[in-house]
């Protein structure tokens, strides 16, 4: 028996740090598309159902359009879908899962979708699901607590699949969002040995196996939603899980699903026109002719002449337009070249020359003077007759 394990869709994530609303919308719709894109995988691998381990919605109060869109996407998968609420879309009284509109849309658009909202065994024909839903944003108790004692009357032969959402030792999405760390802690070590066959986890966006017995995996988000945070964290997958019944270890295969590129190269040091040229080439290699599919975070250091700074600005503006997002940590210091300095101090304009000389003398120690010198350069260029 095969099924797909996924989590952390976070449909409706606003990507608010991107200024352009159209680009934000592009990122949002990409996340939805990645759900619809699971259909071919389901078909290809003959998955019997899909489990989604929390954070299907980005918000606990999603708007109706998002609710409808997600129901539509889930309905398009063609197999039953079982989900639990995560910390983003936690369950409980007043939650979206209880809302009339959601229920109606789910019934209408995704009749095979069954959100599991209570911690009790959910037997299927070929497996038993043991959901550990989050019923509030920050659950102080271990959501898997109820499984520390093996529930009675479990069918002896069916694989027992635990669905949970939260942090395990060393893996937490909350770390990234500086929330309370103590909440939603899952202690896998407390689960009775051999009682369960697979722990399907959600919350951490990377794809990662975090325990062997029982095998516990974070599926990660199918569509990355942030810049990579190190080698270990590789989002952009779903897991194909194959199981042969209770007591038989399942086979887990990550399948890549990412479509949007999130690039965060190492800091670049710019010391002159050659470095500038090299940067342009690096970016061209990294991003190719693609537009509207990548996000880039750059850290620039070093010092450039005033004209070079202008060139750099032009280069960055081009990519700013092409990319979904360009974040630049601009630490390049303006350092006028001899020639530039001379153009200010040696020209036909004694007043500018005088001011430029003074600023140049102070620029070594005073960043403000450096900025002023650059401003003067720009202004002179703008106002030369």
């Amino acid at each position: 028996m095969k099924f797909l394990h996924t989590a952390d869709w976070q449909i409706g994530k606003p990507f608010e740090s991107i200024e352009d609303p159209a680009k934000r919308e592009r990122l949002r719709s990409a996340r939805l598309e990645s759900i619809r894109a699971l259909r071919p995988l389901v078909e290809e691998h003959g998955a019997a159902f899909v489990v989604v381990c929390g954070d299907l919605f980005d918000s606990s109060l999603p708007d109706r359009a998002t609710v409808s869109a997600l129901c539509g996407a889930v309905g398009s998968l063609g197999v039953p879908v079982y989900s639990i609420p995560g910390n983003h879309d936690f369950g409980g009284p007043g939650s979206l899962w209880e809302e009339e509109f959601f229920r109606a849309e789910r019934t209408s658009l995704a009749p095979d979708w069954q959100p599991l909202l209570a911690p009790r065994p959910h037997p299927l024909a070929d497996a038993v699901l043991l959901p550990c839903p989050l019923l509030r944003r920050h659950e102080a108790l271990d959501p898997t607590q109820w499984l520390r004692t093996v529930p009675e009357d479990l069918p002896g032969d069916l694989p027992r699949l635990v669905l949970a959402h939260g942090s395990t030792q060393g893996f937490s999405s909350e770390k990234d969002e500086n929330s309370a760390d103590a909440a939603n802690r899952i202690d896998l070590a407390h689960l009775p040995a051999g009682a369960y066959d697979y722990v399907a986890l959600g919350d951490w966006h990377g794809t990662k196996q975090v325990a062997d017995n029982p095998p516990a995996w974070y599926a990660g988000t199918p569509e990355p939603d942030r810049f990579p945070r190190g080698e270990d964290n590789r989002p952009g997958h779903v897991l194909l899980v194959e199981t042969d019944g209770h007591g038989v270890p399942p086979r887990v295969t990550p399948i890549s699903t990412a479509r949007i590129g999130w690039h965060a190269p190492d800091p670049v040091s710019l010391q002159g026109p050659e470095d500038l040229k090299a940067l342009a080439e690096t970016l061209a290699t990294l991003l190719g002719p693609r537009t509207d599919r990548d996000l880039l975070r750059l850290t620039l250091e070093g010092a450039l002449g005033l004209a070079e700074l202008d060139q750099l600005r032009d280069l960055l503006e081009t990519y700013h337009a092409r990319l979904l997002s360009l974040e630049v940590d601009q630490r390049v210091l303006p350092e006028p070249t001899e020639e530039e300095l001379h153009s200010l101090t040696g020209g036909e304009d004694p007043l500018i020359a005088r001011v430029a000389r003074t600023l140049a003398e102070e620029a070594g120690t005073d960043p403000a003077s450096r900025e002023l010198l650059r401003e003067l350069y720009l202004q002179v260029r703008a106002h030369s007759p």
């Binding site: 509030r136 007043l351 001011v355 202004q379």
Partner: protein
């Protein structure tokens, strides 16, 4: 440039006027309307107004007498002598004859002249007036214009002036085109962006960004509030749901408890009912028991009482008999005592009677004695009365002669005597001493020794033949006196008669007799009264009455008491008997008292015994009666309730019944106790309350659920979490953009400040040469005064200036704020400084025309101004002073030209000399006037001006103006050398090629210039600079080198080009030796 001479024809009031102006100072004077200003204007016009023209400017020049206005001016400029001749009018002509050049005419002449004067083309056409108004306005002070600022109409001169100042300050370029554009652009932008207080302007881009940021912040806050509200609603719902579940569970559990408790409570009620019934039965049994016992007790009590009564009867009877006997004995004792008392009473009574009789007897004897004495006294009184009565008749006869009557009589007698004396006084006293012949008064003879008072006129007859008529005086008074006397006499006689006396003496004798009798009678009366007092009449009567009473008392005795009484005869014996009787009485009374007491005691004993007897008797009676009452009662009860044994059995029976009921009740009570009814009931209350509370809480939780659900339903169409995040990101973007914009604006602001500061430093350096020269002139007015020039916003022209009189900081006064007089004078100082600066490009000389320029100056200032003007003339300026008060300028030492009051008529051929009769020289003919025409004193001032830089560098340098620059003067200081020196440059200049480059005044002949070997070389320049520390200001270095400005700048320029020196910073401009490591070791030690 200098003015040498002029001829003015057909020009307004001047028909033909020639003036020789070739002097350093020319004082042109004349009365009002004499044409001074016209002359000044003519000079100005010939220089700057195009000859050809028909506009207002030209029409105004026309002479009243006709003829074409014509002005001819000879001047010295560009090292040559020139004569310009203009005939003004629609077909005006211009001729310029320049020494050593062909004469030019028309436009060529105008152009050449403008070039010579370094001004724009000659004023013509419509704008002529405007151009004329400005042209050389700083040098040409017109009448009434003296207090205007020299910087007001400086437009045309700004360019040349700034160039000159740049040369002087060694600033090649004042500000470049980009400088200017950038300053303007930045100023505009900063002005558009910031208010004065540094805040962004309302409609500035920066403020718009700030507004957007604020709007974003507001939106964020609003959305955060919405989200917080919804999250709160979510939490409320969770909490309310949990609460509702909890309360429902609690209600269920409580209801169960309550049900169980209900059963127990029913059992309790049942037990309580049983117990009540049992208690009632017990109570009945107890009452029955009590009733039986009560009757038994009654019977027993009665029997006890009857027994007791029977026991007491015998003693009571014996006691009663005893009391009877005692009463009888007491009765006997009392009767005996009463008899004894009666006997004592009688004896005492007897004694008292005897004592009373004896006392009365003694009293009778006493009274007898008194009566006898009284009777004796009354007899004596009677005798005395008879004696007194005997005196009474005599006294009565003398009754009237009491003292008052005597006094009255004496008064009357005195009145008679007085009247008589008065009569005598009024009358004539006629006394016959001796008479030998009979004398008769009114027929009455007068005997010798007779005296007569004559009171009436009468006739005194002496003898026979002699009759004398006598009449006393004051007949009326005499009459009155006589009347008086008569009345007194009658009165007196009447009184005597009334008193029965013969005269006063008799009356007095009888009066004394009366008084004697009175005294005797009084004495008798006294003696009678004394005796009466000793024993009054009624006392005797009373004594007799008393005696009678005492006698009766003595005789009054109880007839049956026989004891005989003997009455003593004497009083003492009687008294003693009485006392004896009294003593006996006392004794008898004592005995009486004693028996009285005894009898009383016996009576009391008797009474007590009787009482006791009666009591005993009564007690006995009562006891008997009680016994008779109780016995039937007892008999009745016994009859009803049986005898004792019967009663005891009945009692035992009811008591057993009580005990049975008691045991049953106790058992019930214990059962009830075990069920703890109080605790159960409290529990019931608690549970009921809890149930109610649970229901209330459940309702409340449901209500909260409803509210929260309602709130949550509200959002639905949008995602508040996403909206908050988007709003926050938007706010952060807005804020960052705003900050970037602000930083950029502030950078621009700072750049503007820096550029302006740089420009301020430049303009300060540019201003300095002019300010220094101005100070040189100003010093004559304000020894410590300074001038500060103000530059236009663009920084390329003078805008105005301010004066600082005392040289201290911060005491600047704008020119416009000065008084008229000070404005004139300070303005002049600046004009001269300007002229001096500008003169450098006009051969070192320029004319300054002052038309009536010191109308506001007082005498002291005039004196100071003279020094000032003199200084200016020494600096090479030509001063043309027009005034109607030449006497003010006596010591100025210039050439004087007087204009006549009346407009001159057309001159005759020989006339021109006459107005200048005072002048030492003949008037110069047009175009040919030479320096030789000048008088000696004037000539001494017309030597070439020293280089202006010397004068400004150090005030002391003024004292030796030509020491450095004109070496020949040093070798030949005589005054005569000067004219030749002046003549020389002229000749030289004339031979010099046109367009000579000489920048210094033409008066400085090239031949007198220091040869390169004499002046500083690049090497001396450098060595001097090293001596000054390798760096020095231009001014200082040049002074140390002792060379003029062109030489210095030429050297400096060369060395700069070669890179051996470089310019440094500093206000006045500095140079320093280029630091070349290769050259340094070779520096001279």
């Amino acid at each position: 440039m200098r003015l040498l001479s002029a001829r003015i024809q057909h020009y307004r009031i001047h028909e033909d006027l020639r003036v020789d102006l070739d002097a350093d100072i020319v004082l042109l004077h004349g009365p009002n309307e004499s044409g001074k200003s016209t002359l000044a204007e003519a000079l100005h016009h010939v220089l700057f107004l195009a000859a050809k023209g028909s506009g207002q400017s030209h029409q105004r020049l026309a002479s009243l007498r006709g003829g074409t206005p014509e002005v001819e001016l000879t001047l010295e400029a560009g090292g040559r002598r020139h004569t310009v001749r203009k005939r003004f009018g629609p077909s005006g002509t211009t001729v310029l004859e320049s020494e050593g050049q062909t004469a030019r005419q028309g436009n060529a002449a105008e152009e050449a002249l403008a070039q010579l004067l370094q001004v724009g083309e000659a004023a013509a056409g419509r704008s002529a007036e405007k151009i004329l108004d400005q042209r050389w306005a700083h040098l040409w002070v017109r009448q009434g214009d003296s207090h205007s600022s020299p910087t007001d109409r400086l437009e045309e001169a700004q360019g040349p002036l700034r160039e000159r100042l740049q040369d002087l300050a060694d600033i090649d370029l004042f500000q470049g085109p980009t400088d200017r554009a950038l300053l303007e652009a930045l100023a505009t932008e900063v002005r558009d962006t910031f208010k004065d207080n540094g805040q962004p302007k309302k409609n500035s881009a920066l403020q718009q960004l700030e507004d957007q940021r604020e709007a974003a912040a507001t939106a964020l806050r609003k959305r955060e509030a919405t989200l917080a509200e919804l999250r709160g609603a979510q939490e409320d719902l969770v909490q309310a749901t949990a609460d509702a579940d909890r309360h429902a569970e609690a209600e269920r559990a409580t209801a169960e408890q309550r049900k169980a408790l209900g059963k127990e409570l029913a059992r309790i009620e049942e037990l309580r009912a049983q117990l009540t019934e049992k208690d009632r039965l017990l109570n009945d049994a107890r009452q029955q028991k009590d009733a039986v016992r009560e009757k038994d007790k009654q019977i027993r009590d009665l029997e006890k009482q009857i027994g007791a009564l029977n026991e007491k009867a015998a003693p009571l009877r014996s006691k009663s008999a005893e009391r009877e006997e005692q009463a009888r004995l007491a009765n006997t004792r009392a009767a005996r005592a009463r008899r004894t008392r009666e006997s004592a009473r009688r004896r005492a009574q007897d004694c008292r009677q005897r004592a009373r009789a004896l006392a009365a007897h003694a009293e009778v004897l006493q009274l007898d004695e008194q009566i006898r004495e009284g009777e004796a006294l009354h007899r004596a009184i009677d005798e005395l009365q008879q004696e007194a009565d005997a005196l009474t008749p005599t006294l009565e006869s003398l009754q009237s002669l009491h003292d008052d009557a005597l006094a009255q009589l004496r008064g009357k007698e005195l009145r008679v005597a007085t009247a008589s004396a008065r009569l005598k006084a009024y009358g004539l006293q006629l006394s016959v001493e001796t008479a030998d012949r009979p004398l008769a008064w009114n027929g009455e003879t007068l005997a010798p020794g007779e005296t007569r008072t004559i009171t009436d006129a009468g006739e005194l007859t002496v003898g026979d033949g002699t009759r004398l008529r006598l009449a006393p005086g004051a007949a009326d008074d005499l009459q009155q006196a006589r009347e008086e006397h008569r009345r007194a006499e009658a009165d007196y006689r009447e009184e005597l008669a009334r008193l029965g006396v013969s005269d006063l003496a008799d009356a007095e004798a009888k009066g004394r007799r009366r008084a004697e009798l009175e005294r005797q009678r009084e004495e008798l009366g006294g003696r009678i009264r004394e005796k009466q007092a000793r024993f009054p009449e009624d006392a005797l009567t009373k004594a007799r009455t008393q005696r009678e009473e005492q006698v009766q008392r003595r005789e009054a005795r109880t007839p049956e008491d026989p004891p005989p009484l003997t009455f003593a005869d004497s009083l003492p014996a009687a008294r003693e008997a009485h006392e004896e009787a009294e003593r006996a009485t006392i004794e008898a009374e004592r005995e009486e008292e004693r028996t009285e007491a005894e009898a009383a005691a016996a009576d009391a004993d008797e009474e007590e015994a009787e009482r006791l007897r009666k009591a005993a008797h009564q007690e006995l009676e009562e006891q008997q009666q009680t016994l008779q009452t109780l016995t039937p009662q007892r008999d009745m009860l016994v009859k009803d309730h049986g005898d004792e044994a019967h009663r005891t059995a009945a009692i035992a029976k009811v008591e057993e019944g009580v005990r049975v009921h008691e045991r049953a009740a106790t058992a019930l009570r214990q059962q009830l106790e075990e069920l703890q009814p109080a605790v159960r009931e409290q529990e019931r209350e608690r549970l009921d309350a809890a149930l109610q509370s649970h229901r209330g809480n459940l309702d409340e939780a449901s209500r909260r659920q409803g509210i929260a659900r309602g709130q949550l339903l509200g959002h639905e169409t949008d995602d508040p979490e996403r909206e908050v995040r988007e709003a926050r990101a938007e706010y952060e973007r807005r804020a960052a953009r705003c900050e970037r914009r602000r930083a950029e604006a502030e950078r621009k602001q700072e750049l503007l400040r820096l550029l302006r500061e740089a420009r301020r430093e430049t303009t300060a350096a540019l201003s300095r040469p002019l300010e220094e020269r101005a100070v040189k002139y100003l010093r004559h007015l304000f020894p410590k005064g300074r001038i500060q020039l103000e530059w236009s916003e663009e920084g390329d022209s003078f805008k105005g200036f301010s004066l600082d009189r005392s040289g201290g900081a911060g005491s600047h006064l704008a020119f416009a704020d000065l008084s008229h007089g000070t404005r004139e004078q300070v303005g002049l100082a600046l004009r001269l400084a300007l002229a001096e600066i500008l003169a450098a490009s006009h051969d070192g000389a320029l004319p300054v025309v002052l038309d009536d320029a010191f109308t506001h100056a007082d005498r002291d200032r005039i004196e100071q101004l003279k020094n000032l003007l003199f200084t200016a003339s020494r600096e090479g300026l030509q001063i043309l002073l027009l005034t109607c008060h030449p006497e003010n300028y006596d010591q100025l030492g210039g050439r004087e030209i007087a204009l006549p009051a009346a407009p001159r008529r057309a001159p005759t051929a020989d006339a021109p000399a006459s107005p200048y009769a005072n002048d030492s020289g003949p008037p110069g003919s047009s175009g040919t006037g030479g320096p030789a025409a000048e008088s000696a004193p004037v000539a001494s001032f017309s030597s070439p001006a020293p280089a202006p830089d010397d004068a400004t560098a150090d005030p002391s340098a003024e004292a030796i103006p030509s020491a450095e620059t004109v070496p020949p003067a040093e070798t030949d200081p005589s005054a005569q050398a000067t004219p030749s020196a002046e003549a020389t440059p002229f000749a030289e200049a004339a031979s010099a090629p046109p367009g000579s480059q000489t920048p210094s005044p033409a008066a400085e002949p090239e031949s007198t210039r220091p040869s390169p070997s004499d002046g500083p070389t690049p090497e001396t320049f450098l060595s001097t600079l090293r001596q000054l520390g390798g760096q020095a200001g231009n001014q200082k270095l040049r002074t140390t080198l002792g060379c003029d400005e062109p030489t210095y700048h030429s050297l400096r320029h060369t060395l700069l080009q070669e890179g051996r020196i470089e310019t440094g910073r500093g206000r006045g401009g500095t140079v320093r030796i280029t630091h070349n490591p290769n050259q340094e070791p070779t520096e001279p030690a």
